[in-house]
């Protein structure tokens, strides 16, 4: 069996397990290539439908093209999109670099805290109304107990230890030293109240697998990934103050694949353009223990 077929089947199996086991389920969509592939896999798993809401955490520092792309796809695929943010931190300018905090603190409040509040229903949420054609306040305060996330084990160290079904306590804390066993394709689907479970269908995919699949299935991704003639493109997407484009002349998917297979990126980490990974050892593990994606 071809590796992409294997990965696709495994991801679909995990998505279907999640849908069967969790009554209150959502899927995080960061607009990046991975979670967009995940969204496409959900449509495969559920025969053209996406039967769970998509949650996007808006930091107000996302590259504008990402938001535009998000809203276009929401309309085209009739997606149920909910976004949340840490408005208080944004209003109080507890941000980087124009505020008075460092990168890590900014990541923690605009992403980890925002995510926690959005998922548990304490924070403000906005939902796209297809009849009104705009976002309206979400009146539901429902807490999500199952959260599907598109992280991959090859991205960085702490993600390499993840489970496919990974429980977090009510504070979103990840107990990395005591993770539940996962034997074969049997995952932890029983949990006490107060915990929620992160579900990771893309854990075994590599960056190259993602691009090969995008090519094979002809999945549209945001154009920031491609060089538009200036010799730069984004390899990984995030907030603009902390995400730098990389030097690359890849203008389309096949060129990116070639670059990853044998070209100049075959031995350079994907997140090398992401600044929050660089502040000393174990930074991202610290962030992730506290609920970062």
């Amino acid at each position: 069996m071809i590796i992409l077929d294997e990965l696709e089947s495994q991801s679909i199996y995990i998505l279907r397990e999640a849908y069967r086991e969790f009554k209150s389920l959502c899927m995080l969509w960061s607009i990046g290539k991975d979670s967009t592939v995940l969204l496409y896999l959900a449509r495969k798993a559920f025969f053209g439908h996406v039967p769970m809401p998509l949650v996007h955490i808006d930091t107000r520092y996302k590259i504008p093209e990402m938001i535009e792309y998000r809203d276009n796809l929401v309309k085209e695929w009739k997606l149920n999109l909910i976004y949340g943010m840490n408005r208080k931190a944004i209003d109080e300018k507890r941000t980087f670099p124009d505020g008075n905090v460092d990168r890590l603190t900014c990541c923690k409040s605009l992403k980890s805290d925002a995510l926690r509040q959005t998922l548990n229903g304490e924070g403000e949420r906005f939902i796209f109304s297809h009849s009104a054609g705009k976002y309206i306040p979400d009146t539901s305060r429902e807490a999500y107990t199952g959260v599907i996330v598109g992280v991959r084990a090859d991205e960085e160290g702490s993600r390499s230890k993840e489970r496919y079904f990974s429980p977090r306590d009510s504070e979103s804390d990840w107990r990395i030293e005591d993770q539940p066993p996962e034997f074969w394709n049997q995952y932890k689907t029983d949990f006490s109240s107060g915990t929620h479970v992160r579900i990771h269908p893309l854990l075994d995919w590599t960056e190259l697998n993602i691009w090969e699949y995008i090519e094979r299935e002809n999945i549209g991704v945001v154009s920031l990934y491609f060089d538009k003639g200036e010799g730069i493109r984004y390899r990984s997407l995030g907030c603009y103050p902390c995400t730098k484009p990389v030097e690359s002349k890849s203008k389309n998917v096949p060129e990116i694949i070639e670059e990853l297979r044998s070209g100049r990126f075959s031995n350079i980490a994907e997140r090398s353009g992401r600044e929050q990974d660089k502040d000393g050892g174990g930074t991202l593990e610290t962030l992730r223990r506290e609920g970062y994606m």
């Binding site: 590796i3 230890k161 539940p180 590599t206 094979r216 991202l284 593990e285």
Partner: protein, 610 residues
């Protein structure tokens, strides 16, 4: 179209093979060093990583070790021993590998099993100087229980013993003897020094007596495991989808095909319910139309006839050799739970997509996994034990022997909220009396009766007690009808009671808020409550969604000696001959009179009042 297929194929040929392998063995025998070497010697490290780690070592003035590379990649904050299985990615000229570093410390056995159960092949590392240790044996045994068929043993740290052939041969023969005893045959033994890079990527000139392959050559010789194409068709049903809210009328049976192949037009049987239908179509999103699906694929089908089936059943093909269906089986089980596994306690069994209540009925044997001594006789299975035992379920479950079909022959056990054990099924066990039947016999034996005879109640109430159960796909629709029946019979002067399932679930034996009460528990509670009310002489009316034949059997058993009148509302759920069927199209008044006629025919309510 044909052209497109061709393009797709050429693209696929270009794809590189990928394989999961696990590195196992006793703590400190050098697993992380082996992996560090593999990463570094194949040039798979991110740019600058090696220099960075070497620099850090100089700064903290400790000697550089290849194991640090792995720690650096994993962000492992507590240095020293590996706690959890982590994945590393490396590539050779032949293929890409995901290499899983499994902890060697006994405390983290569950993480080792987690890592190893994802692997297609294993490298087992033994320190030449310490020799074969407890976890060398335990991990070797676990690998075979987990179904890993490709095992290579690396005899490490030979630099310390001066690359001695006799040291290597000693370990080789000792461990071979052990592996023979558990019927495992390793593909190869390789003498190495991971620290010095001997026989890892390059053939060592320090061990001219060894003529075999290097570790990397050996890895590339591993065979990619093929899906079980040639076994009988099996697909554990994961879910039944009806996305009517999106205007989609298809009713799709979804699941991942674990073995064999199925095509549109094939007749299928669902086990354990035994319901039959025929494949109408293969469903997929954004793919060319297909007529068949083979092992490994996450698939979806529509059926020719509408039958009610539960997720958890196994879809098989009529004519194929079918799985066993039984309420007990003999298994080899490994236990990693914090508390021991004890007889009489209820656990949850998960196999394929099925879940069922399960009890430890009998411990045949406890194998001390570290020494593989058999015969320790204990009344419970302790953490890290491997046991040959008999497990018993409440309702029949369908499975294969592990030796016939590994995917449908293995299971895990959930204790509370945690996966606490797993194992493989050796064979079904025939039971003289099921768990539930035993329970009913015990209950009736001890049942304390009052002085009013049942016959006296019949006469006074002008009725026979009876339990009327409505079942169907959507119970909500039928609750109204069930309640209307109660009211109607009440007006006629019958002693009748509508028993709401949700009331029972909230009221009886409620130990506080729980995530969920499982289906079997629901049925047992419903049965016991109905049994009690019927014993008081009442006609009991209740509803429960999607009751299948086995569940109906359970309910009948619990309610004995009182009889059940089953009413299938809408799509037929339990297809027993004594059930009454009401079509969805039938108007409420007509439905009621149909039911009442049936009650009279069965002499439950007499035609006239005395």
């Amino acid at each position: 179209m044909e052209q497109m297929e061709q393009i797709k194929q050429t693209k696929q040929i270009k794809q590189i093979d990928q394989m999961n392998i696990v590195v196992i063995g006793h703590v400190d025998h050098g697993k992380s060093t082996v992996i560090g070497r593999l990463l570094s010697d194949t040039g798979s490290l991110p740019e600058g990583k090696l220099e960075q780690v070497k620099m850090q070592c100089r700064k903290s003035s400790r000697p550089f070790e290849y194991a640090f590379l792995l720690d650096a990649l994993k962000d492992e904050q507590s240095q020293g021993i590996t706690i959890d299985s982590a994945r590393c990615f490396f590539k050779t000229a032949k293929r890409n590998y995901i290499i899983i570093d499994a902890p060697g410390h006994i405390e983290f056995l569950k993480n080792m099993i987690t890592g190893a159960s994802r692997a297609e092949a294993a490298l087992l590392v033994i320190d030449a100087n310490e020799g074969v240790q407890e976890n060398s044996r335990r991990h070797g045994f676990m690998a075979s229980l987990l179904g890993i068929k490709q095992l290579v043993v690396l005899v490490n740290k030979l630099d310390i013993s001066g690359y001695s052939e006799s040291v290597y041969n000693g370990i080789r023969s000792e461990f071979t003897m052990f592996l023979d005893s558990i019927e495992v045959s390793p593909l190869e033994f390789i003498p190495i020094s991971a620290r010095e890079g001997e026989n890892i990527a390059v053939k060592s000139d320090k061990m001219p007596w060894y003529r075999g392959m290097t570790v990397i050559q050996r890895l590339d010789e591993f065979k990619k495991e093929k899906p079980l194409f040639h076994k009988p068709f099996r697909m554990p049903v994961q879910d039944i989808y009806k996305f009517t809210m999106y205007g989609d009328d298809r009713r799709i049976v979804a699941g991942t095909v674990s073995s064999g192949k199925i095509s549109a037009g094939d007749e299928v049987v669902f086990l354990p319910s035994g319901k039959k239908s025929e494949i109408n179509s293969v469903e997929a999103f954004n793919s060319p139309v297909e007529v068949s699906v083979s092992a490994g694929r996450a698939a979806g089908f529509t059926l020719k006839t509408q039958i009610y089936i539960h997720p958890g059943e196994i879809m098989c093909r009529t004519g194929d050799e079918l799985p066993f269906t039984s309420t007990a089986f003999r298994a080899n089980l490994f236990w990693v739970g914090k508390s021991p596994m004890i007889p009489g306690k209820k656990y949850k069994l998960k196999a394929g997509t099925m879940k069922a209540s399960v009890y430890l009925k009998e411990i045949i044997n406890i194998i001390d996994a570290s020494s593989l001594d058999e015969g320790a006789s204990r009344s419970e299975i302790l953490r890290h034990d491997v046991s040959e035992c008999i497990l018993q379920t409440l309702k029949p479950v369908s499975f294969d022997r592990f030796s016939d079909n590994e995917l449908t022959g293995r299971f895990v056990i959930v204790d509370g909220y945690e996966i606490a054990g797993g194992g493989i099924i050796m064979e079904p066990v025939q039971e003289s009396l099921s768990y539930l039947a035993e329970h009913a016999v015990r209950r009736d034996y001890r049942w304390v009766k009052g002085n009013v005879a049942m016959a006296a109640r019949h006469t006074r109430f002008s009725q026979k007690p009876r339990i009327i159960v409505f079942t169907g796909e959507e119970t909500l629709e039928w609750e109204g009808l069930a309640q209307a029946l109660e009211q109607d019979l009440w007006r006629e002067g019958r002693n009748v009671y509508y028993l709401g399932l949700s009331n029972i679930l909230r009221a009886i034996d409620n130990d506080g808020p729980r995530a969920s009460i499982d289906r079997e528990e629901e049925i047992c509670r419903l049965g016991e409550s109905a049994h009690l009310l019927a014993d008081a002489g009442l006609i009991v009316i209740t509803t429960i969604s999607g009751l299948d034949n086995y569940e109906y059997g359970m309910l009948k058993l619990i309610c004995e000696p009182h009889e059940i009148l089953l009413i299938n509302a809408g799509i037929v759920s339990a297809d027993t001959i004594d059930a009454l069927s009401i079509d969805s199209g039938l108007e409420a008044g007509e439905a009621l009179s149909k039911i009442k006629t049936s009650l009279r025919d069965r002499d439950i309510i007499p035609d006239f009042q005395i």
